[in-house]
Amino acid sequence: MASDLAAVNGADTAWMLVATAMVLFMTPALGFFYGGMVRSKNTLNTLMMSFVALGFVGVAWALAGYSLAFGNASGPWVGGFTNALLRGVGLEAHGTIPHVLFMAYQATFAIITAALISGAIVERMRFGAYIAFITAWSLLVYAPIAHWVWGGGWLMKLGALDFAGGTVVHVNAAAAAFVAAILIGPRKDYARQALVPHDVPYTLLGAGVLWFGWFGFNAGSALGANASAGLAFANTLLAPVGTLSAWTLLDLTRARKATAVGAATAIVVGLVAITPAAGFVSPILALVLGAAAAFPSYFAILYRARTRLDDSLDVCAAHGVGGITGALLTGVLAQKIWNNAADGALFGNIAQLWYQLAAVAATIVYSGAMTWVILKVLAAVTSLRATHREEGVGLDVTQHGEEAYSRLEGAILIHERRRVPR
């Protein structure tokens, strides 16, 4: 089984072990980022929408997802079942790291991408239906798109640049979020009551951990401890630095208040925008890219709140608009002297912008359409939404049988038949 272990590089393995743990850490972080922004009666439900992805999407990945994305029998559209049940995924080198580690690294991406969608449909979806949805989605949407870009599929061959998943992860999740928000419909109180974040510190905590983990996401996508990882790392620091500053200045200009929810959002938008570009642009242009990316997402959020689209936690504005901005700016700002791969439009290679656009468009169309199909099929066999009463009481009690913050009054212990051993 362990044939060519020789090719496993210790330093690359050391970095990728950590990077994988960091990306895994992002999914609980996402739960807190989202969980702080809902009402307290839906805290656990929102957290669980992230946590449960760690379970079911993980299982789906091991059983078939990895193979569909990265399996050997690689046509342009989807991998085969060669590696289903992790057959053939052993200790041998994949690149310069053990194959099992590569599989684990990619698993963490599949998990968080599915969890990202939940932001659009919090506070109202039935939890059982949600589990079924994201599990199916990870197999039918995420795995093929990952194959297109990273598994040897058609976008890879076309030459679209996506360093760490701006399109595969963020644009993809946002397109699904858009469709899901429409099909599932707005919360019953949406646009009628003030739906205010119940715990902003949680959102900041989530943003802090997400930034930490995102270094694994972006710099880890170099798949080794090399100069490319160093570049991706520095850019993952500098882009959100730029976004956060620009966003704060926008906030101060508009209302003389630098909001904390805005700061948390800015960090995420900056991280999303640099994701496709991380190893392709120079550090100073990463700073510029980050600052520039603040504008479209900032105004997209303001605009969305006035529409009837209850994309509750603005997955479209943050990950969709942010991801598209990043993908296109990658096609503009990329520099061959930094990435050994391709120049962007600004450096004479206008074609690159078209490849980027193609990747974005294909992802939006496929993800949107397939999400629609999956949800329609699910809706035919079960109900997607909690009832109005359940929504009123809160999903924590109705879906999970728990309260997030108990202060103990009036909870009466029910004695079940008690045996008297010890």
Binding site: D189, A194, V393, V397, G401, E402, G410, A411, I414
Partner: protein, 123 residues
């Protein structure tokens, strides 16, 4: 002077506040409370422990009003807070002997008359 104490559903609070506003009631105080009535009880489970939650979140409003304001206040609340399902809550009207406005030391009627920019408190 009376004190109107109302227990309402939290999700109805916004409607109640709006109704009171339209009824020209300006001063009021609210408290988060938990209530028990005829509502269905929720069952929660924490690890092996099953728990019956008998109390539901409610909001308590406390509104000091002069006598002729009692009826409109009560009607405003009844109109805005009712859903028709068990658990809508109650209104109690309590007698009050005296009221003071702390800022000025004014007493009774004057104490609950809203401040107008240049108005003097009318009886």
């Amino acid at each position: 002077m009376k004190l109107v104490v109302a227990i309402v559903r939290p999700e109805k609070l916004n409607d109640v506040l709006e109704a009171l506003y339209r009824a020209d009631v300006r001063g009021l105080t609210i408290t988060r409370v938990r209530g028990h009535g005829g509502e269905i009880e929720d069952v929660e489970t924490y690890r092996g422990m099953t728990v019956k939650v008998e109390l539901h979140d409610k909001v308590r409003l406390e509104i000091g009003v002069s006598d002729h304001f009692v009826e409109p206040t009560v009607q405003a609340i009844l109109g805005a807070a009712s859903t028709g399902d068990v658990g809508d809550g109650k209104i109690f009207v309590l007698p009050v002997e005296r009221v003071y406005r702390i800022r000025t030391g004014e007493q009774d009627q004057a104490a609950v008359t809203p401040v107008e920019p240049t108005a003097q408190p009318s009886d």
